[in-house]
């Protein structure tokens, strides 16, 4: 049976995780998307899900040859609105974006599928 790309989403607030999971499912219906609850541990989930791409905040990961990462800033309350930056780490390269889009995540997923699946 052919492998499918697996994505693990571990971001807060939960509505962000829900909408991102929906977007990925819509644009890449082949992908298996898992969303981690706020009280669930990322390390256990990494072992259980064995994702090709992790979208997370709080945790800093780098492309390990087995996992690609998109590390999002965590939205927060404040006087002024702030853009949602991200570090994308995939296939030996790393880049930062000042306002991450769905296309950035899909590009990382496509690269993960090409290189890892």
């Amino acid at each position: 049976m052919p492998s499918v790309p697996r994505v693990l989403i571990s971001i807060q607030p939960s509505m962000y995780a829900e909408v991102l999971a929906f977007s990925i499912g819509k644009h890449r219906p082949r992908a298996e998307v898992s969303v981690l609850g706020p009280s669930e541990g990322l390390e256990d989930a990494l072992l259980g899900v064995r994702p090709h791409l992790v979208v997370a905040n709080r945790v800093r990961g780098t492309a390990s040859g087995e996992i690609f990462w998109v590390n999002l800033d965590e939205p927060r309350a404040g006087e002024k609105l702030e853009l949602l930056g991200a570090d994308i780490s995939a296939d030996g390269y790393s880049r930062s974006v000042s306002n991450v889009t769905t296309a950035h995540v899909l590009a990382a997923l496509d690269r993960a599928e090409k290189e890892l699946v």
Binding site: M15, Y16, V19, F22, P75, A77, L81, T101
Partner: protein, 234 residues
């Protein structure tokens, strides 16, 4: 052959500077037959300049914490599209901020830690309301934990009967309808409501409902599920 009834879509403008979030939200909303996203922008200010053309039923917008700029944006939206209902979807978790926005006539306040189901329920509730801009109670979805963290106690303690009457008032029932439903005299309902106003320091039914929702003395589920148990504390 009889044609199926057409669904009139709720037309929505989305304003949020987090593109990935806005795109996902649009994808979710657009997956519903009864919702059409007619505009999107990065800020509430941009929304105010766009909604004059599209006249959406609903504007879902993030706002920054500065009350003055929030007020300008809300006034801009109201001026450009007076019949649009305004939903503030935000990370801001200050009760004071919520109260200030409520006085500015927003229709709903949702914290971004709410679920997408709560957002959908809010859209459904607002689309059933008949008049925007302060004529109806503000719909609030804010985690109870955050309210508790704010350390603010409710200003007045309402009795079970008073809360029960307030829930029915929030559903849009008249005094006579409330009296009939609770098997009370209309004068008794009026007296209970007068007590409520005095206890929580307001002067009208809509203010009382708004305050009760904001303080989470009554919940959105109680006023949007008229067939549910609907009894406070029950």
């Amino acid at each position: 052959m009889e044609e199926p009834p057409t669904i009139e879509a709720v037309r929505i403008h989305l304003a949020d500077d987090h593109i990935i979030f806005r795109e996902g939200l649009e994808a979710i909303l657009s997956s519903r037959e009864d919702v059409e996203v007619v505009g999107r922008s990065s800020t509430g200010k941009e929304a105010a300049s766009q909604v004059g053309k599209t006249k959406p039923d609903l504007v879902i917008t993030e706002l920054d914490m500065q009350i003055k700029s929030a007020q300008e944006i809300l006034e801009g939206i109201r001026e450009a599209s007076p019949h649009s209902r305004i939903v503030v979807l935000t990370m801001q978790d200050s009760l004071h901020y919520l109260k200030a926005l409520s006085r500015m006539g927003i229709d709903a306040y949702l914290h971004k830690t709410s679920s997408k189901e709560e957002l959908m329920a809010t859209i459904d509730a607002l689309s059933r309301q008949t008049s925007p801009g302060g004529q109806n109670p503000v719909v609030v979805s804010m985690p109870r934990g955050l309210i508790e963290r704010l350390g603010e106690e409710p200003e007045g303690a309402l009795s079970e009967r008073e809360t029960e009457i307030l829930v029915l008032a929030a559903r849009g029932h008249s005094n006579d309808q409330i009296a009939e439903e609770l098997h009370l005299a209309p004068a008794t309902v009026k007296r209970h409501l007068a007590n409520v106003y005095q206890k929580i320091g307001v002067r009208s039914r809509s203010e009382a409902v708004r305050t009760a929702l904001m303080e989470q003395w009554i919940g959105i589920g109680e006023i949007t599920s008229p067939d549910g148990d609907g009894h406070p504390g029950g």
